[in-house]
């Protein structure tokens, strides 16, 4: 059983500001951490490995600094850590990122099961997992809240769809994205840290990939263009609603109606 977990490094703080003149992001501090939702994905992978055997590979795309995150993944217990890093990957949107990861997975010889976190905390799109599944032509279930059964051939999972929960079964190969709280992620182990301190982290760059069509990668391969960023209008203001009791009640009613509560 070969499991690949896709993880991402995100800024440690989400407090970002926009430079009003240039319209570009001012990142406060360079601190980065593992996307918290990906820890659940790693945990799910490790538990499946404990149950049915096999190996867990952590895969990420990003700058060279992601090495630190991959050390943490080793300390949690993954068997192999792979970083896809190349200036040609910069500026990738969902389509280009998922394509690049798909190429990486292909280079690693594919996987029986691919696990992603439900979303990242910086992009919040929750799109990469299903997009990878589409590139690979394999089925997926997103936002898995529970794994009911896993064997060497198939996995049965619970997902919430609308006001119902659905149990779905898929044969391998397939992909799942896991919701938070599916399991409690284990802490990095000091002992594993020592044991893996000299363990190699594999780096993959553009030249290693089989598909070298540049129009599929990075900014060129990204159909979505971020035209500009801006600060949301703040709504900290306070308002006293005046009038007779009936007028006040009517004002609240209009307020609720405008907010689509009623």
């Amino acid at each position: 059983m070969k499991i690949i977990v896709c993880i991402k490094q995100v800024p440690a703080t989400m407090k970002v500001e926009v430079d009003a003149e240039s319209g570009t992001l001012k990142r406060i501090g360079q601190n980065a951490k593992t996307n918290p939702y990906d820890l659940y994905a790693i945990e799910a992978a490790l538990r499946i490995r404990e149950q049915v055997g096999g190996s867990v590979t952590a895969l990420t795309m990003g700058p060279q600094q992601t090495e630190e995150m991959m050390r943490d993944a080793y300390m949690m217990g993954v068997d192999e850590a792979v970083v896809m890093s190349d200036p040609k990957f910069a500026g990738s949107d969902v389509l280009a990122t998922s394509f690049t990861l798909f190429q990486g997975i292909r280079l690693l010889g594919g996987a029986d099961l691919i696990i992603c976190g439900k979303q990242t905390t910086d992009g919040d799109t929750a799109q990469i997992g299903p997009a990878i599944a589409e590139h690979m032509g394999i089925p997926h279930v997103a936002w898995v809240s529970n794994i009911e059964r896993v064997t060497t051939d198939l996995i049965s999972v619970i997902q919430k769809t609308g006001s119902f929960i659905q149990e779905s079964e898929m044969k391998f190969p397939c992909l799942i994205t896991v919701d938070k709280d599916i399991f409690v992620p284990r802490l990095p182990s000091y002992r594993l840290g020592l044991a893996t301190a000299n363990k190699n982290i594999r780096f993959i760059s553009f030249k290693d990939l089989s598909d070298k069509n540049m129009t599929r990668y990075g900014l060129i391969g990204s159909p979505t263009k971020v035209e500009k960023m801006f600060q949301p209008e703040s709504s900290d203001g306070q308002e006293y609603i005046n009038g007779t009791s009936i007028e006040k009640a009517d004002s609240i009613f209009e307020l609720l109606k405008n907010q689509k509560i009623i």
Binding site: P11, K15, V16, V18, V94, L95, S98, T121, G123, D124, T125, A126, Q127, P130, A133, E134, G137, P139, H140, A142, W143, Q159, K160, T161, G162, S163, F164, I165, Q166, E167, S168, E169, M170, C174, T215, R216, P223, T224, K225, V226, E227, K228, M229, F230, Q231, P232, G237, Q238, E239, Y240, I241, S245, I246, A249, I252, F253, L255, Q259, I261, I262
Partner: protein, 396 residues
Amino acid sequence: MNFIHFDVNKCILCRECIEKCPFNALCMGKNGIEVNDACRMCSVCVKVCSAEAISFEQKAGVVDKSEWNGILVYIEQDHGDIHPVAFELIGEAHRLAAIVGFDVYAVIVGADGTENNAEKLIAYGVKKVFVYEHKGFYGFKADCYTDAVSDCIAMLKPSVVLIGATSVGRSLSPRLSTRFHTGLTADCTKLLMSENTDLIQIRPAFGGNIMAQILVEDSRPQFATVRYKVMERAEKIENPVGEVVRCNVTDYLAQSRIKVCGIKSIHRKKMIEEEEILVVAGRGVKDEKGLNLVKGLAENLGGQLCFTRPMIESGLGDTAHQIGLSGRTVKPKLIITCGVSGAIQFSSCMNGSECIIAINNDPNSQIFNIAHYCIVDNLYEIVPRLLERIQTQKEA
């Protein structure tokens, strides 16, 4: 359009795809299998090919935008019922369509009863509703739902596809946008239409700390997901002229590698931390009559009634619904406090709420320091009138 790609080295010329193609779009040419204009990207050939020689490819590069017209809305069904976000998407689609003279279309996929639901959409001014009904679409299966909607997109060639940002919609949309090699913007909070049919998509990023404005300039269709309760719901129109189009669904199109083992409804009552709307009763609620008033307000708004500590101590409320340091911390979208003074032990556990409406007859109450909307009045005057207005609205 050049979506289907044949790998001549892998193809074993078994003709299986030609026979199974529901649209007679494949034929044997000089250099192997060829695709003609009848292709609707239904993916049946990709599924039946035992040699894995067929894949979807769309050439990168600039598309001719004039070939892609109209707005297609994906209609999600929540196990038999139309998900209400669909009506909001239709409303938004009409608004955007009017700017560039587009028509609004809808696509609906599901098992028994899907066509009945499709009929209901005509009243909202949808020109055509494309129906993919088949027992194989029971439950939600990302792979074959993608095949069905792709079939519709390839036939219609819409400029924009709008999908609800529900758990189902956000699972389906990335597969669709990937298949068409185009852009998808998640959770748009605002959409604008340019004269050249580029959709200006605005969405929050970095946990809502920043807004990003996104364009898809060189490819079509433009996919966007929008959350429930963000856009204006469509109104019914007089004398609607739309039609329901039942699309051909072969067993292959409805075939999935996901097996639905069971579907259960969720009947667990939400904890107050999970609620989006809360009404709080404080000491100003003095009796059974007052309690019934605020309870009625909570129920009519689809939320739950909570209490401050003194209310628990006097036996009017239960601890599972207590907000405060000795109770629970909440962060709903809307919280209406009735007769709550707003001591720090209480307010520190709810001041992260998105919208706080406070009703209290004492103008010096601390609650007015944190409320977004302040109503200095007697709750016994305000709440009955508010309830009356809400109930009249619901009946209309």
